[in-house]
């Protein structure tokens, strides 16, 4: 069944969307969008190092993304520069170092565009196995650690006082994000990975009354974006990765037309309690 490139792309993309939706909810709730971007940008450095050291690329990307997250944690403890500035430094310098290193590679020809914007139509059976094995592991961790992860997101202080470990939750989420980046890079590229985490989750908010609903809805919307985007790219011969993101954006814009008052959880302006 998965003999043609288009079916493989669909299966791979759907697998990624099912994982990115629920995890993306945490990214939105915890305001980690820029953080996710930073980790994603470091993926190119991971690619370059994997090629230089001849190690598995998924593992290399994961390791570098996790290291960048760790570096940020340590720098935050120093409390000198703001997190915002630190993220800016890490994000762009890791991307730049990655690009420079790729330039040094003379033995391998690197398809830079493929890494920056993804090449979902080139996924192999092996890639699909990695996506689904990794995806199932990520979803299983989210499922079993859901309550402490959510409690820590609502209030780290409260979770801690009642015997949970919000620092551990934070670490788990960072590792999961590094994993998603590692498996998503080939599909949508380092520049677009975070959009798959954030756009479906942000769209799901208006359609959900509970965190769990939002996670499920985000997964479904992600699948719609992948399927719609891939068929769109096939029809109009557009770049596949960006087409998926454009489709996610279209779903988001359409969702804005849904009257929220008819749904649960009306928006309170200025973030204050009415």
């Amino acid at each position: 069944m998965l003999t043609d490139f288009f079916s493989r792309a669909l299966v791979a993309g759907i697998g990624l969307a099912l994982v990115a939706g629920p995890l993306g909810c945490f990214v939105v709730w915890r305001r980690m969008a820029y953080f996710g971007d930073t980790m994603a940008h470091s993926a190119l450095l991971g690619v370059a190092l994997s090629l230089i050291l001849s190690i598995n690329m998924t593992a290399g990307v994961f390791a570098v993304a996790a290291l960048v997250a760790g570096a940020l944690l340590i720098l935050q403890r120093q409390a000198t520069l703001s997190t915002d500035a630190l993220l800016g430094i890490l994000s762009h310098s890791s991307l730049a170092v990655g690009l420079v290193l790729v330039g040094f590679l003379t033995t391998v020809r690197v398809d830079l565009m493929g890494f920056l914007f993804g090449d979902i139509l080139a996924v192999s059976m092996e890639d699909i196995i990695i996506i689904y094995a990794g995806g199932i592991a990520i979803l299983a961790i989210l499922f079993f650690a859901w309550r402490p992860l959510l409690a820590s997101t609502v209030s780290a202080e409260l979770a801690e006082a009642e015997g949970l470990h919000p620092e551990a939750s934070r670490l788990v989420l960072m590792i999961l994000m590094a994993s998603v980046i590692a498996i998503a890079m080939k599909l949508v590229g380092v520049m677009l990975i975070t959009s798959l985490l954030i756009i479906p989750a942000a769209t799901a908010r208006r359609l959900s009354a509970t965190p769990e609903q939002m996670a499920v809805v985000a997964a479904i919307l992600g699948v719609i974006a992948v399927v719609g985007g891939l068929f769109g790219s096939l029809t109009w011969d557009t770049a596949s990765g960006p087409s998926i993101v454009v489709m996610a954006l279209i779903v988001f814009v359409v969702s804005l037309a849904v009257p929220v008052k008819r749904l649960f959880g009306r928006k309170v302006h200025n973030g204050s309690y009415a």
Binding site: V154, A161, R266
Partner: protein, 245 residues
């Protein structure tokens, strides 16, 4: 000792980077006892509470907790971002699993049952505080920790919340640890007030602390004069008032 000690701090303190946050705290809480920590910002109230709950380890002295101590925590301020859809119903089971009847009963106990399906972002300050009380109480904690319980609640709301604290103490026999920087407000039922400023300045019943020279030195004469102690019965409050001039 007829009452079981839930928590005992002995000469406990925390210092970080060579700087002492709080030191020499002696404090114990038994079942049915209300202990209030007061002090200005940075006086070590939160640090002391965190030592008590086990979030922070003391760097000096000792802290002992009853084995298996269950803590219910009512945070000072909980701002839940609009991006996180959360109903009261769902908030109730944030840190543990409880059945629907349990959730309804806990909300009923604080008079907030009608809020069951409401989004937390829609609640008023007082309503949210009640829901947070219910959330902490559904765990049937041995110790209830209240961090600035009446902050952002109007005067009548304050009185109602203190009634609630009293009711919780009487019906569940939980120990209660309250933290307050609002020096004007101390519950009359508080068994012990600890006045902190990097160390324990003074301690005792609310009335004793109010009249102690250390309290006056720390917070000034004016604060002492305006310190209101919530009494259960307000029918005698106008007796014996003498106006100067």
């Amino acid at each position: 000792m007829d009452k079981q000690k839930l928590i005992t701090l002995t000469n406990a303190g925390v210092s970080r980077g060579g700087r002492s946050l709080v030191e020499g705290v002696d404090l114990s809480i038994s079942r049915g006892e209300i202990v209030t920590l007061i002090g200005p910002n940075g006086s070590g109230k939160s640090t002391t509470a965190k030592m008590a709950t086990g979030v922070l380890k003391p760097t000096s002295g000792t802290v002992t907790r009853m084995p298996g101590l269950k803590i219910g925590y009512v945070p000072q301020k909980l701002t839940i971002d609009w991006t996180l859809p959360l109903t009261v119903d769902r908030l109730m089971t944030l840190t543990g699993h409880f059945s629907h009847p349990q959730v309804e009963m806990a909300l009923e106990a604080v008079g907030a049952r009608r809020l069951l399906g409401a989004a937390v972002q829609e609640l008023s300050g007082g309503e949210f505080q009640r829901v947070l009380f219910a959330r902490a109480m559904i765990r049937q904690p041995d110790l209830l920790v209240l961090d600035e319980p009446v902050q952002g609640v109007d005067f009548s709301g304050e009185v109602a919340l203190y009634e609630l604290v009293r009711k919780i103490r009487d019906t569940t026999n939980a120990g209660i640890l309250m933290i307050s920087h609002d020096l004007h407000v101390v519950m009359a039922e508080t068994d012990t007030v600890l006045c902190l400023n990097g160390h324990v300045c003074c301690r005792g019943t609310p009335a004793a602390v109010k009249n102690s020279p250390e309290y006056r030195a720390l917070f000034g004469e004016r604060a002492a004069q305006t310190l209101a102690i919530y009494e259960h019965h307000h029918d005698h409050e106008h007796e014996g008032h003498v106006h100067a001039h």
